[in-house]
């Protein structure tokens, strides 16, 4: 008994180390376990009050806000802006080392302006563009090494806005377009030369398993775009990715085969978390979170990999939230369902979920009628990431209490054009005075440990640190820190512009820094949320603000 306890402690320690960042912030999610957790503790609950700006960097790209998660490797920060301008900065001072300016994207290219990050590996910096070029730069000089177009945005209506993920010799990236008539995919290219390694289509083609979960030819335009960044477990050699919603978003009669059982596996592999072989792109297992989705509940979000004891047994688990706020806990080796919990306080889309993960009491919008659905299609959580601290065992989640009035229609699909098939004005959940909260959730018990309410919405990613601090920002411009154990707000700083990006932590020469992107998002979810609070004027911008303890106090 004692022996097994020791064994447990050891393997937990290994998993704990694999998920935490140290001096560097090498990947979009911190490490490829996507915890957004730094093992640095120089800045902690006892000295947080002294945290002060060390430097800031104005990107000069004000077309949209700064959403990207910066990458820090060996004291150099790599940052990408909305229009894919890339900077290498001295991470201690903000001094510019090199810059790369992507060519202007032609005006007839449809879609989103924005970039959520880049990847650094193999001596190169990798990123995608609005017009679907994947680009590799020399990490030292910023010189372009290769670029390759992976789809014509004018036809597919899709863009690359996500940060790529590098796994061994491949750079792997997803795309947008799942709200249009498009068939989503993940593409892997060789880091060395940009050549195609594999492409995995979210929706199986004719003759492939899963195609039978689509009615007629609807698989061709069924959406499912995996528009964010996945995770990777090197020990299992498995790549994990969340996939987007099925299209048409709000109307499923053209895509769900007659007589389908909507409790499991309809419109595969949309609204799912999937495990792929990173060498071949072959599917190993899947878990669909929303079969036959009719609420625009993407599952494209981050995948957190951790080892936790569940019902007396140490399990290699994966934690994954989809837009509805439904959060699955799975065995990441096999995909076995271990449990689920739902985070929003206001929920009308389902009545509940069974112990084996089936949705109960689906509240489906009907053609031509208006149904109020909570949470909204903007998400109980938006695309911005949660964080996980192995010290508390809690997930830190920004949750929004919004609803939308969905009125589906049955317009026909046109390739690459919007295929949401519904109006869905977003509104505030009724009968409340606060519309968001930062929560701490225990993924093992599925219980909320603490919550910190906020008046408006929260649309920035979370950062957790070994100093038992949790950081995020709000649309009013405050960047703030909470006690990871209690949720007490310990510190805040007015950065001058709203927060819709991400914060990271890193160290240079022993000095710990906390860096955050600032600038409110002026379109899509940011604009829709701002419209709910007309007396507010959340400021735009594109500035990285970096904090540290004063030199003298260290």
């Amino acid at each position: 008994m004692r022996f097994s306890l020791i064994l447990l402690t050891i393997s937990s320690a290994i998993a704990q180390d694999a998920g935490a960042t140290h001096a560097d912030w090498p990947h979009y999610g911190g490490t490829q376990f996507s915890w957004r957790y730094s093992a640095l503790d120089q800045i902690n609950t006892s000295n947080i009050k002294s945290l002060t700006p060390a430097w800031l960097f104005q990107t000069g790209d004000y077309a949209e806000n700064l959403q990207a998660t910066p990458i820090v490797v060996d004291g150099v920060m790599y940052l990408i802006t909305a229009r894919a301008r890339v900077f290498a900065l001295d991470a201690a001072t903000g001094r510019e080392i090199w810059r790369y300016q992507s060519p202007e994207v032609p005006r007839n290219v449809p879609g989103f302006i924005g970039s959520r990050g880049l990847a650094v590996s193999d001596g190169k910096v990798f990123f995608g563009t609005k017009d679907n070029y994947m680009v590799a730069l020399d990490q030292k000089t910023g010189r372009q090494l290769w670029k390759v177009n992976i789809d014509d945005a004018r036809q597919c209506g899709c863009n690359i806005t996500a940060a790529p993920l590098v796994v061994k010799d491949k750079v792997i990236v997803g795309g947008t377009g799942g709200d249009g008539a498009h068939r989503g995919y993940i593409t892997a290219l060789y880091t060395k030369n940009g050549r195609l390694a594999w492409r995995w289509y979210v929706i199986p083609g004719p003759g492939e398993k899963g195609n039978e979960t689509w009615k007629g030819d609807s698989w061709k335009f069924g959406g499912g775009s995996p528009w964010l960044t996945g995770s990777y477990d090197p020990a299992l050699n498995l790549l994990y990715w969340g996939t987007g919603n099925a299209a048409a978003d709000f109307y499923d009669a053209e895509r769900v085969p007659a007589g389908s059982d909507k409790t499991k596996d309809v419109n595969l592999y949309t609204a799912s978390v999937v495990a792929l072989d990173p060498d071949t792109g072959k599917l190993r297992w899947h878990h669909q979170e929303v079969p036959a989705d009719v609420w625009d509940y993407d599952s494209a979000y981050e995948v957190l990999l951790m080892d936790r004891e569940i019902r007396g047994r140490l399990r290699q688990v994966l934690v994954h939230m989809n837009k509805s706020g439904l959060t699955s806990v799975l065995d990441r080796a096999t995909g076995e369902f271990l449990g689920a919990f739902s985070v929003p306080e206001v929920r009308t889309w389902i009545a509940g979920i069974t112990e084996d993960g089936k949705l109960v009491g689906r509240n489906e919008p009907q053609l031509g009628k208006t149904t109020t659905i909570c949470p909204s299609a903007a998400g109980a959580k938006s695309w911005n990431s949660m964080a996980y601290s192995p010290r508390t065992g809690f997930l830190y989640v920004p949750v929004n209490e919004l609803c939308n009035d969905i009125t589906p229609n049955n317009r026909a699909a046109e390739e690459g054009k919007n295929y949401m098939n519904g109006e869905f004005p977003v509104k505030l959940a009724a009968g409340r005075s606060t519309y968001s909260h930062v929560d701490a959730w225990d993924p093992v018990t599925g219980k909320r440990a603490w919550t910190l309410p906020y008046k408006y919405v929260l649309l920035a990613s979370m950062l957790a640190t070994a100093g038992d601090l949790v950081f995020t920002g709000n649309p009013e411009g405050e960047f703030f820190a909470m006690d990871a154990k209690t949720g007490n707000r310990l510190w805040s700083y007015q950065t001058g512009a709203g927060h819709r990006g991400a914060a990271v932590s890193y160290a240079v020469n022993g000095r710990q820094f906390i860096a955050t992107a600032t600038g409110w998002h002026s379109s899509v979810v940011g604009a829709a949320a701002a419209a709910l609070f007309p007396d507010q004027d959340w400021r735009l911008g594109s500035t990285l603000v970096v904090f540290a303890l004063p030199e003298a106090s260290r």
Binding site: A63, E64, R83, R107, N108, V109, P110, G111, F112, I113, R143, Q144, L145, W146, K147, V148, N149, I150, D152, R154, Q155, C156, D179, H182, R183, N193, G194, R195, L196, R199, G205, K220, R411, E414, E415, K417, N418, M420, E423, F424, P425, V426, S523, V524, V525, A527, A528, A531
Partner: protein
């Protein structure tokens, strides 16, 4: 009197025509502009700016729809909408801005959309058919506003399927980079280093090599026939019909 009646009749018929066009514009707006996080039902906004009651005049509306707004989500719709759709949606947005009786077709500078029929229409689809992945023509050729312009614009259309399959590509060379030999379409051999497409596999990758690092030789084993293998003869014939219809020598 007769003349007055005629003018009146003309006015009435114009008005009726306007109403139809505005109605069509409303439909185009609903499926193209009101959708998603864009301009919302009747231009009331659901993310992108409100378009109703903004005091826009028709020339402004036509200009923005045609050219888009730089650095925003508003793309150019000049080639994404057909000419009648364009006219209709401009007229509809004008009515949202208090212009009760918009002028039709004032946007003379727009390119007219070509209507394709039969084999040419089928060829247009085959040229860029998404389910073919990187095995479609549009992976390397831009025609009619679709595709990636890896190759120079197509100037001459092969006369037959046989000629199409036998197409020679004298511009494709062999590049040797880091000891690896690859078929290359050279874009530039400038001082800062050569720029070329590596044609080893699809999609082609643009390589920017350091000066003096690449050796080019004038011949290559690469053949165009190797990348059109997924199309059968009937499909290639349709693609040729399409190219003949849209490419003017």
């Amino acid at each position: 009197m007769k003349r007055v009646l005629a003018v009146l009749a003309l006015a009435v018929s114009c008005f009726a025509q306007n109403a139809d066009v505005v109605k069509q514009g409303e439909q185009v707006f609903a499926k193209t502009c009101a959708t998603g996080y864009c301009h919302g039902d009747k231009g009331a906004s659901s993310g992108a700016p409100r378009l109703a009651g903004r005091g826009f005049d028709q020339a402004y509306i036509a200009n923005v729809v045609a050219r888009g707004v730089p650095d925003t989500g508003m793309a150019s719709f000049a080639t994404r909408l057909s000419r009648p759709e364009f006219t209709a949606v401009v007229a509809y947005v004008a009515t949202l801005n208090g212009i009760a009786n918009p002028t039709l077709g004032a946007e003379a500078e727009l390119p007219a959309a070509r209507a394709l029929t039969g084999d040419a229409a089928r060829g247009a689809e085959l040229f860029k058919e998404a389910m073919r992945g990187f095995g479609r023509c549009s992976t390397c050729h831009e025609v009619g506003g679709f595709g990636i312009p890896v190759a120079a614009p197509i100037a001459k259309v092969p006369e037959s399927v046989a000629a199409f399959r036998a197409l020679t590509t004298p511009k494709v060379k062999t590049a040797v980079l880091d000891g690896e030999s690859m078929p290359a379409l050279v874009l530039s051999e400038r001082k800062q280093g050569p720029v070329f497409y590596d044609l080893t596999s699809a999609p082609p990758v643009q390589r920017n090599a350091p000066p003096g690092s690449v050796k080019f030789t004038d011949d290559s084993a690469w053949r165009h026939s190797s990348v059109i293998g997924a199309y059968n003869d009937s499909e290639l014939a349709a693609i040729l019909a399409y190219l003949r219809a849209v490419i003017k020598p």
